[in-house]
Symmetry: C2
Subunit: 433 residues, 2 copies
Amino acid sequence: MTAADRAESTALLTDHYELTMLAGALRNGTAERRCVFELFARRLPNGRRYGVVAGIGRLLDAIEKFRFNDAEIHRLRDSGVVDEDTLGWLADYRFGGDILGYPEGELYFPGSPVLTVTSGFGEGVLLETLALSILNHDCAVASAAARMVSAANGRGLIEMGTRRTHEEAAVAAARCAYLAGFTATSNLEAGRRYGIPTAGTCAHAFTLLHDSEEDAFRAQVEALGVHTTLLVDTYDITKGIKTAVEVAGSELGAVRIDSGDLGVLARQARTQLDELGAPATRIVVSGDLDEYAIAALRAEPVDAYGVGTSLVTGSGAPTAGMVYKLVEVEGRPVAKRSSHKESRGGQKAALRRHKPTGTATEEVVYRLAGEQPERLDGDVELQIPLVRAGQRAGDLPTLEDGRERLRQALVSVPWEGLALSQGESAIRTSFLP
Amino acid sequence: MTAADRAESTALLTDHYELTMLAGALRNGTAERRCVFELFARRLPNGRRYGVVAGIGRLLDAIEKFRFNDAEIHRLRDSGVVDEDTLGWLADYRFGGDILGYPEGELYFPGSPVLTVTSGFGEGVLLETLALSILNHDCAVASAAARMVSAANGRGLIEMGTRRTHEEAAVAAARCAYLAGFTATSNLEAGRRYGIPTAGTCAHAFTLLHDSEEDAFRAQVEALGVHTTLLVDTYDITKGIKTAVEVAGSELGAVRIDSGDLGVLARQARTQLDELGAPATRIVVSGDLDEYAIAALRAEPVDAYGVGTSLVTGSGAPTAGMVYKLVEVEGRPVAKRSSHKESRGGQKAALRRHKPTGTATEEVVYRLAGEQPERLDGDVELQIPLVRAGQRAGDLPTLEDGRERLRQALVSVPWEGLALSQGESAIRTSFLP
């Protein structure tokens, strides 16, 4: 293991109490009890009609790097978090259990068993915080992104929210947006890490830097070619568009408008571009767009949308509200009982029912040790093996596979489930006893 | 430079267009024009009355690691983002300019020049995305955290939101919470990276793992001592508290309640603990707390709060809405002019006016080349040197200094500025011509 690998340990990206629970369980011999943990959402946020599973690929990478190397052990010893016996156990820690889960791009609904971790208590409890961090963030962003893709109705979407969120969250957000069907991202690290197409040309600063807008456009066209996108709203938009076509000619790739009433301005720009003999020049709009604003622009001559803040903040729901609950110990179902937040004990699986037309009708969640659902035509089992005895399962879906899976899944949603307004889950979840 | 350092380059945590702007500017000789960029918020989110500056320390670290090493250059070449001349310039890139800014823990208001970057255009434009990512995230979390600290009115606050946000954003959020006055964090990496106290004991899973609650409490007390915090709401809370005191004795550190009507339950728990002869046992509550819920519990016998989701998501404002604008080129003020989002050109500084009692009255933002404010008793200049000619300024405030600065700054806010309700900025910002 190289220094770089060690530096990348994910083992301390976790809550203090996961380690103190381990210490307690090691002391009285319960740490090896066979446990099943389930990760799920009790409800969808804000009247959303579906959630999108995202982050599974990142989670599997993070689990492989979940190692207590010397640096982590020293830190835990110095800060007195756990005793020496526990430190010894941690130094040898490798997750050796099994993980089943929904593949990326699959939809989820309240109670869907998005992830099922089976292992000794200590092994599995240590992954709780990390699994929740990754899935709560990524599912929140992907779920918002999918609504924007629906609203854009086939037009291009460029993710440009990096500056509105934590610098590493931004990389993950770009991945979620691509999973959901965005065309490209502005984030260069996401391009490197995940092979996502990146895009971008110039900001207002580039125009302001120059002695005139014409100088700026000329510099950009010389550097990036006539197929570039010129930002035309630094001064007067009509003059900006005229200058843009004068400088780049009718081959100009696109103009971008980043302020004002985007619908009105897009219409004016389209008319002006056509009159200037640039009918193939596209119109890109940006500036505080969310799924509602995107939908509101459907009737306008907009060719692509740049989306920032609302994407990376989950458009009002910045976290997916998933929980990671112990549901089974040595084959015995367990559940918290003191409040309305009751959980259903026992390991569960799920299948989704579909009409012959392919429309989804129901999510059936059933206990492996309980009543089994009748199997009907159109049923799809939702969990797949992700990790077997600590090893990543073979042939896992790629990011591109997830993108295609979501595309198909959204086709299967009943039409009212794609409405942007607040409402019930697109399909109901049935829990078998 | 070691492999680990290289792996940590922050240079690709940026937007594609920062590099294409650089390429255009290099091509026509404008990349070296002396520029001033200003980072500020046009407004505070959601009727907030003040913002808290956070992330400066993280930003200075990130700028030091902003290097285009071989791996970054190869990636940019392979993906065709910029031309060879630009790659050559990037390979030698070191930020060599000056940065002034508000220190961490200082308050900011609409238009406050939180950061001022002076350098050649290329040098400064490259930092835009990274600076915004860090400050937009950290200021959003710290601003929410400060309201929670105010609401807690001296009682302890434990940050436990790691599982609700991106795994690296969580580490930064823990730092922001501590800056704002939280007592501790659950996040172990924040403990390692920033020296913040970490805390945590057990979750419901630990109780469920055991054959009885008593077994679980006994295991925890054996591992963590009688001064630990026992989570008493897995089954029946009254029985849980009884068992807790039976197992740990009257020296029990605390009980935690994580569900239900926390006010009612805290009162019942206090009465019961006193009757059981454990008057020194503290009561910790958690579960969907935000600043309003914390304030609502002020009259109850609560000793400490655990706060998660609302902290890491900025309690409704997950991003601070800061922008990074080019305001001056070769001594000439510049500003976008096409819309209502107008910026004020020219490099600016700011001072805060105070009454003789120490209460802040006004934020005065003035152009270095414009009218200078009259200097009055109680005026405090707000920017400090952070970077000089590319080198971090000496004697920069520490995280602890920021914590103390914020504590004092909140004392200086007019009383209505500390109200949790939506309203105007606590003090007005005056812009001198």
